[in-house]
Each structure stands twice: as C-alpha cells, then as structure tokens.
C-alpha cells in the first residue's frame, strides 16, 4: 500500500494544475520552478483547498473523491505540515505549540510530556519555554518539524521549509529532516525549487513544471548522514 496516491486537477485563474503521482515511505520531493503548482499540490493533499476533479488517498484511506463528493476535513486527514515560515502560534510557548498538535488522549500534562519528547527528537528541548518570536529561523523550523510529527501523522508535508534559512543552517536542517524521517518511518513530501536540496533530501524526486508532473526518479545516497540527534547537536543559537 502506498503512503499517498494523488490524481487531481485544480484551476485557479489561468493556472491549471493536473497532477498524478504515488508516494511510498521516505522523502519524496516535489521539485520545480516557482509557480509550477507544488505548494498548491500540498494544500490539496492537506485538504486546505478542494480539487476540481480527482482523488487523494492517504495510507489507503480515500480523503478526497470529487466524483463521489467525498472530502475528509484537514483535521481528520492525519497530515502534519511544516510551512515555509514555521507558522508557530506566536501567543503560545514552543512546548504549547507542539502539545496542541498531540492527538493522543490524556491530560494536559501527558500531552506536554509527549510534546517534550518530540522536541527532544529534533534537538529543541531547551527551547520549550520560549516564545516563537524569540527563536531564530532554524530553531523555528526545528519546532515546526516537531509540531508536524506530534500528531503522529500518516504523512508529513513540508512546504519549502528551508528557503528562509542561511546555507549553514540549511545544511544542518537537511540532515535533521533526513534523520527524523528515517527514524520515525513517517512518509514525507517536501517541496523545493533548490536542486541541491532536492537531491540531498529525496528518496524520490518528482519533477514539476507548469502544473504537470514531468517525471519521477529515484535518488541513491551512498554517503548520507543518518540520525536526528547527530544533526541536532549542532549549535545554532542566534
């Protein structure tokens, strides 16, 4: 069973997205120039936008089927999402941001404990009490990654998560993302227009242009860093 099956169309103004691909475990990167429809595809998968036609299946569960008028809400899709600028809730502490995403039943304390363990996984446990406004770009994205995983989603969607970061932090974050996705076994779809980033992170690259999938290729990595703690150890205080 594939982690994700997408076959949808969506027209917005003059732009028309007509995409179809399948994603298995690991990181699949949607690669292409700006305006190719990559982020729109993520919004369709997350249920933030409805497609005009087609179906989306996550872990064998049909979440969108336009012909049958089936549409599972974003909240019930079990997707985690990392946005370009993190979009951490500014009025909540880092720990609360992650704890809010914990879906597991239990009291507030239990959810906070789970949130702490996710922060630990991405090497951001010392940031727990801080407000998002006081974090650096890299720290913000670490927390956003922890938050996207805290709901134990079927799939994690990352919309250009490294674009706003400088090159050193970006390198560090690449190994962190790689390590976390490998260790958790959760499938991920990442959007980027940076070729180096695509090839370093991806197990599969899906090439996009003008709202269409041009092709899909598998990437092999002979010398890849694994393990989230290894990458998280790098300091990045600003």
């Amino acid at each position: 069973m594939s982690a994700l099956e997408v076959a949808v169309t969506r027209k917005i103004g003059d732009f028309e997205l007509d995409t179809s691909f399948t994603v298995d475990s690991g990181i699949s990167v949607l690669f292409g120039p700006s305006g190719a429809g990559k982020s729109l595809t993520l919004s369709l998968i997350a249920g933030l936008i409805r497609p005009d036609t087609g179906t989306i299946v996550i872990n064998g569960v049909v979440v969108t089927d336009c012909a049958r008028r089936e549409f599972v809400s974003t909240q019930e899709r079990r997707v985690g999402m990392v946005f370009q600028d993190g979009l951490l809730l500014p009025h909540r502490s880092v720990l609360d941001n992650v704890a809010l995403a914990v879906r597991q039943a239990g009291g507030r304390r239990a959810r906070r404990d789970i949130a702490r363990s996710w922060l630990e996984l991405v090497g951001a446990e010392e940031l727990a009490g801080r407000r998002p406004g006081s974090l650096s770009g890299g720290q913000r994205q670490r927390v956003a990654l922890a938050r996207s995983l805290a709901g134990e989603p079927a799939i994690v969607l990352m919309d250009e998560p490294l674009t706003a970061l400088d090159s050193a932090v970006r390198r560090e974050m690449r190994s962190l993302i790689r390590g976390v996705i490998t260790s958790t076994g959760i499938a991920a779809v990442l959007v980027t227009h940076d070729l180096q980033e695509a090839e370093e992170l991806a197990d599969v690259v899906i090439d996009y242009a003008d709202g269409r999938v041009l092709g899909q290729r598998t990437v092999t990595h002979p010398t890849r860093l694994e393990g989230p703690r290894e990458s998280a150890a790098g300091s990045e205080e600003e």
Partner: protein
C-alpha cells in the same frame, strides 16, 4: 528669552526682594495659600457630601456595567466572529441591526426597549413570567439597556480584529488536528485579542455612561435604577452643583492624563 523679558523678570525679582515689599509678598502668598486651602477643604467637604449622593448610583452603575460588558462582550465576539468568518442567511441583517444602537438616538432605543420589555406586550409578558418580575423600572432593565448600547462596539471591533488575523495560522492549526471551535478559541481570538480588548473597553465605557435608554427603561428611581450618569444630571438641581462640576472636571483631566501616560508608556 528676549532681552526685554530678562530685564523685566529681573526687575520683578528685585522688587520682590526689597525689604519694604516683603510684607506684600508674604500677604500675597498667605492669601493664595488660604484660598487654595479653603478651595481644597471645600472640595473635600463637597466631595464627601457629594459621595453621599452618588455612592448608591456608583455601585449600581458597576452592577449594571460589569454584567452588561460581559454579556455584550461574549455576544459581540461571537457575532463579530460569525460576520468575519462565515456567510449565512441574515448576515447583513445581523450587521445592520447590531449596529443600530450606534446610529439611533439612545432615547429611541429606550423607547423600543420599553415597548418590547413592558409586561403588557407578548414578549415582555413572557420575559416577566420567566424572570419572575418585570424588567422595566428594574436593574435588569438597566442591564439590558447598557448591554444593547455596548454591543455594537464589541461586535464591530471584534469583527475587524478577527478579519485582520493571518488565516495561515488558522490553516496551520487545522493541520494540527484542532477542530474549528478550538481554532476559533485557541488561535483566532487570542491573535485578535488586542482589537477585541479595545472594543470591549469602548463598550464598557459606553455601558458605564449609558443615559437615554437607561432613563427610559429604568425610570431614574432613586436607590433602585438611578445610575451615575442619571445621578450627575439630577445633582444639577442640588446645592453641590458647583462642587460636582469641579469634581467632574478633575476626573476628566485625571482620565485624560492617565490615558496620555498610558499611551506614552506603550509607545
């Protein structure tokens, strides 16, 4: 300072410091001190006397304005949220009717309320049976009048503040699995809190100062429905009128200075 002014002020100091004019200065200062002391004593005495007149209305005003602000606040935030976030039948009607108390004269609102809440009408009779007593000429009626006066400010400010919230945060919250009601309570409203608080403050001020509708629905009954605004007008017919004027001016100046200082400390 210009040269002429310097010469003038120097000569005044010189005259004041001359031994033969010292007595005049002492007498002038003493008279000023006496006047100030008398004024303050008069003010205090008047204030104490006046407090006796306004104490009841003061506490009654709080009993009216606090629940009115709470009710108008909750209803205003809910209405503001609905207007900002959804399109439903009667949306324009809600906005128009909700804003009417700003546009209509308070006495007209009072007239409508009197007509609606009077035990003689169907709705008023029903309310009277439910509450156990008539709403008009009662504190409950004053609360209704103040709530209606405060509501549009709470609603409009909440709507503007909620519309100003970046919807990306709400989308992010949905991907976290938060149901829509939790997105509203834990994301949207907290992010709009400054604008909402401003609306509630204005609404509270409006509830505190409500006059026309309260007069018509409450009836200005001393010890029962005479709020501070009504008591201020009533005291124009008492001997403490001038003292009261002075107190009101001082209160207004203090409030303005307070607001100014608050604004400066924030900026």
């Amino acid at each position: 300072m210009k040269r002429d002014e310097r010469v003038k002020s120097a000569s005044v100091l010189a005259v004041a410091s001359r031994p033969k004019n010292k007595g005049v200065v002492i007498i002038a200062v003493a008279l000023m001190g006496l006047g100030l002391g008398y004024g303050l004593a008069h003010l205090m005495a008047g204030y104490i006397a006046y407090w006796g007149v306004v104490e009841g209305p003061f506490w009654l005003t709080l009993r009216v304005a606090v629940p009115a602000t709470l009710i108008a606040g909750v209803a205003g935030i809910a209405a503001g949220y609905a207007l900002a976030k959804s399109h439903f039948p009667g949306r324009d009607l809600l906005e128009t009717v909700g804003s009417l108390p700003i546009i209509l004269p308070p006495t007209v609102i009072g007239y409508y309320l009197l007509e609606t809440l009077s035990p003689g009408t169907q709705f008023g009779g029903f309310l009277t049976r439910v509450v156990g007593h008539t709403l008009v000429y009662n504190v409950a009626g004053c609360i209704v009048a103040a709530t209606i006066a405060a509501f549009p400010f709470c609603m409009r400010a909440s709507r503007a503040a909620i519309e100003g919230v970046d919807s990306s945060f709400e989308q992010a919250a949905r991907t976290m699995g938060l149901p829509d009601w939790r997105v509203a309570l834990q994301v949207t409203i907290p992010l709009a809190r400054r604008g909402i608080a401003a609306g509630l403050t204005i609404g509270c001020a409006r509830a505190l100062g409500e006059y026309g509708a309260t007069l018509m629905v409450g009836g200005d009954i001393n010890g029962k429905t005479r709020t501070l605004s009504l008591a201020i007008l009533d005291s124009f017919t008492t001997p403490e009128r001038n003292t009261m004027l002075l107190i009101l001016v001082l209160m207004a100046v203090t409030a303005m200075i307070g607001v100014g200082l608050l604004g400066r400390s924030r900026s």
